[in-house]
Amino acid sequence: MTEDEKKFVNLINEHQGLIHKVCIMYEHDIDLRDDLFQEIVLQLWKSFNSFRGEAKFTTWMYRIALNTAISGFRKESRKVKTEDLREKHFNISDHIHRDEREDDFLKLQWAIRQLSEIERAMIMMALEEIPYEEIAETIGITQNNVRVRMNRIREKIKKLMLQ
């Protein structure tokens, strides 16, 4: 492995949670999530040389990971093995055995998946405490637009989580 490869692998290892979260939010098919993870890693690697440290590493990672998940990745047509969170995790008989925190997280995850791909990207970054300025820059819209959209997204999520 070259020095660059080692450096890159270390960075990805350190921040892999970000890629996993993008994969979970954008890929419904459990088997295809690994494909998306690999695709994001490959795209990050392709652009690694152009990363000059002007932006934070995680912001740069978000931009490429979201671009790949939203527009660069085309699914193979095969039988989809979906993970239906509502069926799998909100089963009443199973409810008492689960941690309330986990339940809330699964509900939130399900609610985010009901949003459009763009809205998903925005709420994910907001939940990761990325400032609106950086979200606006990553999406390519104004900060004011981000603020308005975020209010609507929050309302949508609230409604979805109360369902």
């Binding site: 949670g17 490429i64 527009s71 907001a126 939940l127 820059e137 990553t138 390519g140």
Partner: protein, 206 residues
């Protein structure tokens, strides 16, 4: 429920199977499944196919004595040479894509523009090639049957009608096939990209 509550819920869970460094390193050697890389692989496949067919035709042409078939074969070889430029242009178009440097909106705009122009170019080039292939096929028939007999037959109304019918069927079938293939392979993806871009470009509803 406020955004702070959502952040607390979000951060309290890290539900994924971590990859180790060896697995990540192995991923760097893998093959990309992005639409652009798939298109590039298709172009390379077509280019290799054309090159191999060209070589076979060259060897065949060398075995022939001077005559119409030999010159027809050589003219097809020249067509293959022109096709090489066409493939290079396709690859240049595809190499312009780079998702890493732009924000999501700009990336969508670039992808929609480039993918649309690439598909138009793809379709147009085949639309130009069909009549060429058809005329070359006719030329082969003429050479096989003898030019005099061919021209005599060409004077007959039924032959002309038959050829016009054949040309129209050939053209319509091939155009339909390419349209269907493009739609199947890239149409849905392009529609999705346009929908996402419209979502970002449209003013927010009141």
């Amino acid at each position: 429920m406020e955004i702070e509550d959502l952040k607390t819920i979000w951060k309290n869970n890290e539900r994924y199977e971590r990859k180790n460094e060896a697995q990540i390193a192995l991923m760097l050697k893998g093959q990309s499944k992005s639409i652009i890389d798939k298109l590039k692989r298709n172009v390379w496949f077509e280019m290799v196919f054309t090159f191999v067919s060209g070589l076979c035709l060259l060897f065949y042409a060398i075995t022939l004595e001077n005559g119409a078939v030999k010159w027809t074969s050589i003219s097809i070889l020249i067509l293959f040479g022109v096709a090489a430029f066409y493939y290079v242009k396709k690859l240049i178009l595809l190499n312009n894509f780079d998702s890493g440097k732009e924000n999501i909106k700009d990336n969508l705009e670039t992808l929609v523009t480039n993918l649309s122009s690439y598909l138009k170019y793809y379709k147009r080039s085949y639309t130009i090639l069909y009549p060429v292939y058809f005329v070359l096929s006719l030329l082969f028939v003429a050479v096989e049957r003898g030019m005099d007999e061919f021209i005599t037959n060409l004077m007959k109304t039924e032959t002309v009608l038959y050829l016009v019918g054949l040309a129209a069927t050939f053209y319509l079938c091939c155009t339909w096939l390419v349209d269907w293939l493009i739609k199947k392979l890239y149409g849905n993806h392009l529609d999705k990209l346009k929908r996402l871009l419209a979502e970002l470009e449209n003013p927010l509803p009141a």
